[in-house]
Structures are given as structure tokens and as C-alpha cells.
Amino acid sequence: MINNKLSDSQLISDYIKGNEFCLEILIKRHKQKLYNFIYSKIQDRDLTEDVFQDTFIKVIRTLKLGNYNEEGKFVSWVMRIAHNLVIDHFRKNKRLQKFQSSENFDIFSVLRDNTLGAEDTLIKNQIDNDVRDLIELLPNDQKEVLIYRFYNDLSFKEISYKTGVSINTSLGRMRYALINLRSIISKKNISLTK
């Protein structure tokens, strides 16, 4: 049974020789001080847990690789590792902008999900149907140009080729189609918005 009163230095030496239990004593001896130190900088329990774990992973690797120089106190060295990891964390966070919701600011008030909800989909379908009904009221030549342009996504060059008229005539018919649509909407007092 290993004495819990052994010095850090003795425990490190025994751990390097292969006594795994010494690490457990070292971790348990310094866990609270280290955890509080990290938490005081980061103020986040989950991140503190991560940095705490990364700190000891570094400690374990350094000790096992035989790269540990016993120049100062073990705990000071561990704190320095944690401090550097905390700095790394803040550097990384600086690169990645992070927003946190608070009482006065909710990130979802400026971020929107652009997909339509059930109600918006119903309204959109209703408006689409109303517009189609209105288009049916237009003269055939204007209706033709408008459908080719907006529903078939053809260019005016393609429309003029299909309808056998010049590009300018197609543009003119489109202009009249829109003017007539607006006029019908105004006369019938139709609202095409939510």
C-alpha cells in the first residue's frame, strides 16, 4: 500500500518506474486546486472538464516519455500546462466568433430558419393559386410571355424564338402583362401578401 503522505516528487519517480497507482494519488491530491484554477479562467463547467482532462493527458504523456524535468514543484508545472491550454482555448475562441444568448439578447431573434412552417406553406400555396387565376385573365399573348418567363424560366431571346416575335415585342408584352396584373389586383382589391 502506497503511503498518501509521499511527496509529489517521490510519487512521480515511482509512477515513471511503472507504479500506476501513484498517478491516481497525484490526480486526487491536486484535482481541486487545478479544477478551480481552470474554472476561474473559463467559467464553464464542461470546458473546465475538457481542459482538466487535456492537462493531465499532457502530464501523463510527458512523464511516460521521460521528458519531465524536475526543476520546480510538480503542481506549478501542471498549473502552467493548464494555463497554456486555457490560453489556447481563448485563442481558438477568438478565431471562431461565439454568441451566447442572454436575458437581453437571443441569438435566434437574428438567426432565422428559412424553411417555411405549415401555416406559411399554406399561405404561399394560396397566393400562388391566386396569381395563377389572375394570369388566366390576361390576354393570350401577354399570358404566354409571362408563363415562359416566370414559370419556364426562359430568357426573352428564347421566348421571342418560341413565339415568333422580336425580343422587343416580348419585352413589351411582359410589361403590359405586369401592368394589367397590377390593375386587376387593384380593381379586385386583392391582397397577395401575408
Binding site: E20, L23, E24, I27, K28, K31, Q32, K33, Y35, N36, Y39, T48, E49, F52, Q53, F56, I57, I60, R61, K64, L65, G66
Partner: protein, 47 residues
């Protein structure tokens, strides 16, 4: 005027790492072996 001093607690005893984290570190250490090959050190993690 008399000054009142209070002992400022440096540690918050409720702030402790989770036992899973401690267990992970202990198991990580047990699974990590270093072997030297041609003056190079290789890390082997046996889970």
C-alpha cells in the same frame, strides 16, 4: 474605525472534476505504453 476581515475562500469545494474524468485519466495512463525503437519513442495505446 474597526475593519472587519473575513477569510476569503480560495477554493469552491463543490467544484470538482467528474469521477468519469478521473477514471478516464487513470485508464488512459494504464493503456499508454512507450516503446523505444531505433532511438525513437513510440506511443502505444492499448484499449
Amino acid at each position: 474605525m474597526q475593519k472587519n476581515y473575513s477569510e476569503k475562500k480560495f477554493f469552491n469545494s463543490s467544484l470538482q472534476p467528474k469521477s468519469e474524468t478521473i477514471n478516464f485519466l487513470i485508464n488512459y495512463s494504464k493503456s499508454l505504453s512507450i516503446i523505444e525503437l531505433n532511438s525513437k519513442k513510440l506511443e502505444i495505446n492499448l484499449n
